[in-house]
Symmetry: C3
Subunit: 425 residues, 3 copies
């Protein structure tokens, strides 16, 4: 029998064969792949790590010329080239751009720029990346007023993102956007409900498969009465107490719509926005570890027919996620999100889920990518951890066969996504 | 010198020789072993995992015929056969029932039923399981009004479970039970104290060795004045504030009795009951990770003469447990409880304890079993982790001899239980 | 290519060559090394572990004769010789004292005493230990009114410890000490500010490089108005609300001084003092895991020019530390503190930092030692973990060269300390 590293390599190779069903990303389907090397290097992970390493925000955001920006940011790369995020970039350079170096340094800027230009200027570049990464479907993050037109929904699966509706409906701008796209003025409970159903209808007509939201650590969903909602919808936009009631009510109403339309709901729990307001774009958010899934008990109990695909921001909350998913039929573990999307934490979190959560309830991974090129290195990072866990915990420790281990991987990488998000229909 | 896996196997075999002192279980001493295969499969771990995997509660709890139930539940087994809990069942089938298959599937239902019937119908089945598992003593969980008769207390050690007294004494039913079994009407502080001492006397006369309670994450023990207790005992059962005062007062009074009777007290910290009220029987409880042992500082300080054997529900709280046990002479680490009783978490939690807590203060493991058959697979799961830690951290990394490592294991598996619970006396 | 254990040994040997820049200790520079074996064994780790294992506090603290105390404490060693702390003592005995035994037992008391006497009576003993440990510089912990004279500040680097100022300035004693050493009566905001700047001037003149404070889990820094500070400085010392305002104000004022003097500030977050007031000296403090770095968001935002070198007390908070350091340019990860200074936790915490925090922002380790002899075994414990992580995660998993891995170690063990604390200047 194969042991240790050979076994891990074999399993890794096998599970890399599965076409990818990527259930959460920020891909723009109208421009899904990078257009220049700077489109890769401009990913917030690199700008925020460069900034964290001492690069002034003004230098990062002031320079508009993409080649000059490439030079500027790579000048700081040697300060954070230990991070796993930087390795994603190196993987892309090697796997997609033909870069032959061992590590990317500031000296490689022009070479990488030229290599990227040669590839990315090819008209079918996005298709090449999709094929090279074996991506079958990838979920989007769509604003509620996205027209959802101009792309192939059999590959790019729309997903209704509702952060604006839930947390900013007290703002005139959001309300105007909702009224415009739904043609319904959401001035009271009944009209708001109609407007929301209009959105679900629109998204459903464009093959959307889920609704998604990110939530702060102190959020705790509760139903709101019709009267309280009517009052909150009439309140002054500056009234924070009424805005909070409105958030609760809209959230609950959206989950009711998920129930009605038989959609799963993605809950991405734990992020505080703008903790570091002077940070670079998308590099300002952090968290408070003091949060609990017990805040969602009312929700999970009230909607047994809705599948909640839950991402947690911290590894400390992973035991809660595993245990709640072990007990609640409608709680699904979903990927390894953001600050927990690091091999050290994926290993710990995935290990517990594999040992304690029914495998049919585990959605293994999603890329969260903004550009297609990042899907492959991120998935490979995850698949490397998964292969190790399958080899060590299941085959060597528990005596599973390689075949069984590979089937388990297939279930959590494809089977569950396909079933839970109804991707065959 | 042996290395790696061979060394782990050697240590595992050695520590499996120690007769088991199992310091916490839910065994019914009048019917300690399973009577049918369904008695195994009906363990809440399997019913809740089946339910979590999609089996309706009505299907699980509606079917009363045990063979039919076996078929029903095993139909869902393929959805959660990755879990370590399901492996316990497979271990039992292989080790006790003569099952020869690799994995249990729905097709094995009749075969397992028949195999089990053949074994369990033997009049000395419970003794066979005890012997086969090398169980020397096993603690029970006894209601305060349990007559404690009809079983051998040299094997089945009574343990006074006080959840009802602490959290439900405001209810008439509990008060009636207490009055009946103690022949004292607990209408005021003095009479309640007498009634409680009556219980300790009764349990002590039947060789009970400890008092135990499970506690919610927000519980923080504090003394209550005699007057406040008198008032709380006279209050309306529906008065929640008075009920909370009563809980505090009864808890403190019970710890005083532990001090008087020189009993250790088992604190099982962190469970919220009925978080999922529509869950199957015993599959409704979860937790809030936001809890701290600092809530128990007053208690640990007030009773230096009482040994508190502490179980925590989450691995995130394990560092608190290790550190509090490192500092407080009367805080003992106790096993790996429920949602933390999974190899991934046992490994992390046990590793820290072995490195940071005096070994004389570590009670390594208990089974928490409802049927004797589960003791062996659970202990083997723990012993496998322990053998790995001893091999890797102590022998290979720190240069301990095998003999030293085995003595360390003996201490935390037997020596401490024997001393702390006075099992020789 | 070397693999596994050989590779770890090679890396360990290499990184042990770097001279140590120890950025936090409690060394008394006027008596830096132990004078007797009891000076080693009297370290609070051993007295508290002996007490936790059953040794009465009165026995530990009542006996004044150091040889008798050595016998007394070693009598309890067999109860906690599994702990990593006890291994530090064994390492010292073997590496510095010429002890040849495998483990230290009670029988070794006289022998160790004599061996220690022979070494420690040599007039250059402290220098021998410094050289043998390759210590280049070691930071002290100095009271604000420390005269800072009589020692070589090129080796012993002063560090202004401000716990007394921040948490006890409402007490007359502290105010008198401040007035005496600064010659300024801190009766209002302006005079307090002057007095604090006087301290910075004094410390700066003696080559101090940082300011340090330990903080309770519920502390959350906020600015205080000049008027509120004036009022708090005039308040009754017993007025706890005013004392809390004073703490906030003094803390903020000290950080302003750090900004003005261009000093980093060490924040040691999470300790509750005197949780176990009957514990031995320095063995009374514990913690509440429910704390968050979000409490420091205002501070990190208000002082972008100050480097905050952050230690967290619990491993559960390590993900917050890694993530805050990944985002905030002025948050530096600093060592592995106290209850987290155990290989099991160092491995987890360091692994995440190495994968997710720019390497230029990681201060790998400090000894926290009270006597020079402890620097080497503590650093070796850390370096062993680091060598393993470099071998497994960077060389074997990510394909780094040994040279690259060693340079990464050099950066986090020396380069960053040198730059952040301006040790060349």
């Amino acid at each position: 029998m194969l042991r240790g590293n050979e076994l891990i390599r074999l399993l890794f190779d096998e599970i890399c064969q599965f076409p990818i069903l990527d259930t959460h990303s920020h891909i723009n389907p109208l421009s899904p792949a990078a257009l220049t090397f700077e489109d890769l290097l401009g990913y917030h992970y690199f700008t925020e790590l460069a900034h964290s390493s001492g690069m002034p925000k003004a230098a990062i955001e002031g320079e508009k010329d993409p080649l000059a920006r490439t030079h500027l940011i790579l000048n700081y790369a040697k300060r954070f080239n230990n991070t796993i995020q930087f390795e994603w970039l190196e993987d892309i350079a090697r796997n997609f751009l033909g870069f032959m170096g061992e590590q990317i340094t500031a000296e490689d800027a022009d070479k990488l720029w030229t290599l990227a230009e040669r590839k990315m200027s090819q008209p079918d570049w996005a298709s090449q990346v999709l094929r090279g990464s074996r991506v079958e479907k990838i979920f989007l993050t769509n604003d509620f007023d996205d027209p959802l037109s101009g792309f192939d929904t059999s590959i790019y699966v729309p997903c209704l993102r509702v952060d604006d509706l839930v947390f900013r409906l007290h703002q005139t701008e959001t309300r105007t956007r909702l009224a415009r796209c739904s043609t319904i003025e959401p001035g009271d409970y009944a009209h708001l409900q109609k407007a929301i159903h209009h959105l679900f209808q629109h998204f459903s007509a464009h093959q959307a498969k889920a609704c998604a939201i990110s939530l702060p650590p102190d959020f705790s969903p509760q139903p709101v009465s019709r009267q309280a909602m009517d009052q909150a919808l009439r309140a002054n936009p500056a009234d924070e107490a009424q805005a909070a009631i409105l958030s609760q009510g809209v959230f609950w109403m959206i989950v009711e719509a998920c129930a009605a339309w038989k959609w799963p709901m993605d809950l991405m729990i734990g992020v505080n926005r703008k903790v570091y307001p002077e940070g670079v774009h998308q590099g300002q958010d952090l968290f408070d570890q003091r949060t609990s899934l017990i805040q969602y008990a009312s929700l999970f109990n009230a909607f047994p027919q809705v599948n909640f695909c839950v991402s947690v921001l911290t590894s400390t909350q992973n035991q809660e996620l595993a245990s709640y998913s072990w007990i609640f039929p409608n709680v699904i573990t979903h990927g390894h999100w953001w600050y927990s999307n690091v091999p050290a934490l994926i290993h710990r979190d995935c290990q517990l889920r594999l040992q304690a959560v029914p495998h049919v309830k585990q959605l293994g991974y999603y890329s969260d990518a903004y550009k297609l090129e990042f899907i492959l290195p991120k998935y490979n990072m995850y698949r490397q951890v998964l292969a190790r866990l399958l080899a060590e915990d299941f085959i060597l420790e528990r005596g599973w066969s390689e075949r069984q281990a590979i089937e388990l991987a297939r279930q959590i990488l494809r089977g569950n996504a396909s079933r839970i998000f109804q991707l065959e229909s």
